[in-house]
Amino acid sequence: MKLTSFPLAIAILVLMFGGIGFTTAMNWWKTESTKIPAKYSEGEAAGEFNPADIRGSYTFEAIKDSFGIPLEDLRIAFRVPAGGNTAAFSVKSLETLYTDLPVEMGTASVRLFTAFYKGLPYDLAANADTYLFPEAAEILKTKGSMKPDQAAFLTAHTLTADLQIPVDAAPAIEATLQPGAESAVPAPTVHVAAAMTVTGQTSFQNLLDWGVPSEAITALLREPMPEPAMLIKDYFAGKGVEFSSMKGKIQVEVDKHK
């Protein structure tokens, strides 16, 4: 049995588009991840969407749809310029938008803002180095549904008007934020400077200074370490990888050498 070019061309087109059409009809064909976060499986918020599952690929519109936060509030909270398409603004874009800040303003900040806006449970201890703009804090104070510990956390994690870390909050671990430590009245926070905490301003030189061997960094990156002066965040931005998704792994390596 032989085949010439014309029937072969038809066969290729039928297999390609027939396959795509069939899998689309079966609802198997997906070209993007669903922009619907996972839900809490237990606790007081069981059944509600979990802000911790917001990904860098989510747009502001996806957050609005899942959590009911108005686009304008998101735009103002994260200083996205007016006049653009706020709905299509992706969360990961924040990491490249604010490279000059002393802290990382990215996906983790959006998760925090969303949790506080809706008063949903959120792991504050794991977000000791997450900060928000003053505008976001204002919105949360007027429209949010924060619990007392969240309100206290916000106070210590709002950048100052000149976009600096609050004096008493430079990367800090709140002693008041132990699991289950909730009180009706916001307790004064006790900040303990968190040495060796990976943030958006951490460079590879910092890692070396903290005792992390260059071999461990190379193993983590799967390639030779770049110039030590380079910020880790910039390195991952250049690779198209979200810094927030790698920060935890680097912190684990740092913690091994504390």
């Binding site: 049995m1 032989k2 070019s5 072969l8 061309a9 795509i20 299509a88 799967r222």
Partner: protein, 296 residues
């Protein structure tokens, strides 16, 4: 195009392949442009706006390990890439790497540049610059790259290949998503296409490496009828992948892309001598008719 040159084009080339290639090139380009437009709030109605990662079957290949062990896809890879991978494998099982020869837009881009190279260096020199021994060894580089990409993706869970992927760079050079490494590899590939036909496919493409394995057992193969072959080497000269078709009765070479350019339908001047077939006879073999008139 004059009537004479038009006739030559239709007689000596698989013209339908050129049309299919141009179609897929335009289709993928439009999807990629639309993807950019959609992120700015615009977009072309009724046209897909998927990320290029979503419509690249190789994304499915590098996701296999993670999918089997963890049940999830590698970052940026979705079900569509997996489905395209399966379709690609099915086509390869039937016809060999027709994805490379008929669909892949990067292969098409290399062929377009090659047509310029062929004009500059003429047919005898073009595509024969690399010494045969070295060329033969270099052909296995793509399996090394395949192993490296699959391994690195498995242990990192991220699409590291995108940093050097010329296919992604070709359709994203206007975005900030493209890596400098990808642009550099694309530039080198296109430049090399002036001297060598499909250099990326021959020496580096990890997806072509996977599909090439199917040539060992594909159902339809290029077959040469030794009894009627004039041994004029027309098939060897025309093969973009430098396969010596004239020395084989059945082409099992891992580099064949099933372009059919060597067949009696295109370059071979003898009817029913080089054909794309299963090898099963469905009718009596006709006497070969030598089609030499005006062929050269």
């Amino acid at each position: 195009m004059s009537l004479l040159s038009k006739n030559r084009f239709f007689r000596n080339k698989i013209w339908i392949r050129r049309i299919v290639q141009a179609f897929f090139f335009g289709f993928i380009a439009l999807i990629s442009i639309n993807h950019t437009l959609v992120t700015t709030g615009q977009g072309i109605p009724f046209l897909a706006s998927a990320s290029l990662h979503a419509v690249c079957p190789f994304g499915g290949v590098v996701s296999i390990y993670q999918y089997v062990t963890v049940g999830t896809f590698v970052q940026k890879i979705h079900e569509a890439a997996f489905i395209l991978m399966i379709i690609g494998f099915l086509m390869a099982l039937l016809f060999g790497p027709v994805f490379c020869g008929w669909v892949c837009p990067l292969g098409t881009a290399q062929e377009w540049v090659a047509s310029l190279g062929r004009k500059i260096f003429k047919k005898k020199s073009y595509n024969h610059f690399i010494p045969a021994k070295l060329d033969s060894a270099l052909r296995y580089l793509r399996y090394i790259l395949l192993g490296w990409v699959v391994y690195m993706t498995a242990i990192s869970g991220t699409l590291l290949f995108v940093n050097i992927d010329p296919y992604f760079a070709l359709f994203n050079f206007w975005t900030s998503e493209v890596a400098v490494g990808g642009l550099a590899v694309l530039g080198v590939t296109l430049l090399a296409s002036l001297f060598v036909e499909r250099p990326w496919c021959k020496y580096a493409c990890p997806y072509g490496a996977v599909l090439g394995i199917f040539n060992l057992f594909r159902i339809f193969s290029i077959r040469r009828e030794a009894g009627t072959c004039k041994l004029d080497l027309a098939c060897d000269i025309t093969c973009p992948m430098n396969i010596n078709v004239s020395t084989k009765t059945i082409v099992r070479d891992h580099q064949c892309i099933s372009c059919l350019e060597c067949t009696s339908e295109a370059r071979c001047p003898v009817a029913a001598t080089v054909e794309f077939s299963t090898g099963l006879k469905t009718h009596e073999t006709k006497s070969p008719e030598i089609l030499t008139a005006g062929a050269k």
